[in-house]
């Protein structure tokens, strides 16, 4: 599966403007977009997910046009069928683990019941070792458990790709390495393509089958200090 991204977006008010200009194409199953905070990584990921509408350009996934300013195409986020792992997980605070995991399985006006189940929910509760805490609320969980709930919630719908926003930054350093290894194994097993944004160079070694360097609102193929640069 391939991503083609070529977008421009201008954000902010009159006093402080930020111009994002990102163009890349990737066929790698694991793509890492690396850059310092404030470089526009999150905006790029949000645009891919459909949460942010670029001013111009286009976004394609496996030949399907998700956004094209010229043809006035904007597939809404709900129809793109991507999983999205938010930096601080964005778990629904009033719902227990089961309800969070089952959240995307129904699109009606009511939240899943406290004992929400089904084959997919049970499978992911087991796969990510969440059965013990299935009836607890997010604020009763550890950081690692919260991340696993967010992963289960994103994967239960069988997304076409997984978008990860700084997935390890909210974890303790000692937990970070173990979680990387776990995510690595999980991704190998389920085999869906990912795009990960990060400002931690360690993530490149683990997940950067293809690495893009984002700085000054633009994409580069090499790090800033690379002797073969720019």
């Amino acid at each position: 599966m391939s991503f083609t991204v070529d977008i421009a977006k201008s954000v902010g008010g009159t006093r402080r403007r930020f111009e994002l200009r990102v163009a890349f194409e990737t066929t790698a199953s694991r793509t890492v977009i690396y850059g310092p905070s404030g470089a526009g990584k999150s905006l790029t990921l949000q645009a891919i997910a459909g949460l942010l509408v670029p001013d111009s350009g286009r976004i394609l996934f496996g030949g399907e046009t998700l956004f094209d300013s010229g043809a006035r195409v904007h597939v809404p986020a709900r129809a793109r069928r991507f999983g999205y792992l938010f930096q601080d997980y964005a778990l629904f605070p009033g719902l227990n683990v089961r309800q969070n995991v089952a959240f995307g399985l129904s699109s009606g006006l009511r939240n899943p019941p406290r004992d929400a189940g089904g084959e997919a929910v049970e499978r992911w509760l087991d796969a990510l070792e969440l059965r013990e805490v299935a009836l607890q609320r997010p604020d009763e969980l550890s950081g690692g458990q919260r991340q696993r709930v967010a992963l289960a919630r994103a994967l239960v719908n069988d997304p076409r790709a997984l978008l990860l926003d700084e997935p390890f930054s909210a974890l303790d350093p000692e937990l970070r390495q173990r979680t990387r290894a776990e995510l690595d194994r999980l991704l190998t097993r389920i085999g869906i393509p990912i795009v990960m944004i990060t400002h931690d160079p360690e993530d490149i070694g683990w997940f950067g089958e293809r690495t893009l360097y984002l700085r000054d609102g633009g994409i580069h193929e090499r790090p800033a200090n690379d002797p073969q640069g720019p």
């Binding site: 459909g50 809404p76 986020a77 709900r78 006006l109 939240n111």
Partner: protein, 230 residues
């Protein structure tokens, strides 16, 4: 020497019933309108947003008699809306309990509007984004994520509306008058009793009003969870 408190006349219960009916209708109307307008003001940036907020807050600072006068100008028999209603449907709102509902609704509206707007502004937009990525449409996001998170604040505002509607006097008197058993609410009945020198009736009415309000406040304390859960 007259008794301090007379045994309640059956008419008192009719007055209490009418007062509760008017307050309940005003609360229901304000709940729907307050949630809708509060959400618009919190989430949609449009030119003149703060001016709209200021105009809708006017009932909080204007004397109720001024509001009553405005209402007579608008929904009175010769008012621009009132004359149309009468000519088209034969509907007259002046000196009716429905007119009292409109007066009470208008006076109490800023209370629920402020509460709802503040509550909606406190909802983390990222949680709504998470729901969109998981496949939810905008109505489902609103009812499954936004409203549950804003609910404690909305509920607190709604209960204030009920209390304020029960005690409404000035605008109600101007629009609905003081027809016993038809438009005479408790607060107006107290005024009439005092004017007529019927102190023991006034005492009874004051006691009933106070007890009713204490019951409402106790209920409010039980309904609104301690601290605003997120």
């Amino acid at each position: 020497m007259t008794a301090l408190i007379t045994a309640p006349d059956p008419a008192v219960w009719i007055t209490l019933g009418l007062t509760l009916k008017v307050a309940a209708w005003a609360t229901g109307i304000n709940l729907v309108l307050g949630v809708a307008v509060g959400w618009l003001l919190a989430r949609k940036a449009f030119p003149g947003r703060e001016l709209v907020d200021a105009i809708l807050t006017l009932p909080f600072v204007l004397p109720p008699t001024v509001l009553g006068y405005y209402l007579l100008v608008v929904i009175g028999r010769r008012g621009w809306l009132g004359s149309w209603l009468y000519d088209t449907f034969g509907i007259n709102l002046i000196f009716t309990w429905q007119g009292a509902v409109i007066a009470a609704s208008l006076v109490a509206f800023p209370l629920v509007l402020k509460a709802a707007r503040t509550a909606f502004e406190a909802v983390d937009p990222q949680l709504e984004q998470a729901a969109r990525v998981l496949g939810l449409g905008e109505w489902a996001v609103f009812f499954r994520v936004t409203v549950p998170l804003a609910w404690p604040g909305i509920l607190a505002g709604t209960l204030l509306v009920f209390a304020r509607s029960m005690g409404e006097f000035g605008a109600t008197l101007m629009v609905a008058g003081s027809i016993p058993g038809k438009t005479q609410t408790l607060s107006i009945a107290v005024y009439e009793a005092v004017q007529a020198g019927q102190d023991s009736i006034a005492n009874t009415l004051v006691l009933i009003t106070s007890v009713t309000c204490i019951v409402v406040l106790l209920l409010a304390g039980r309904l609104v969870p301690p601290g605003t859960r997120r």
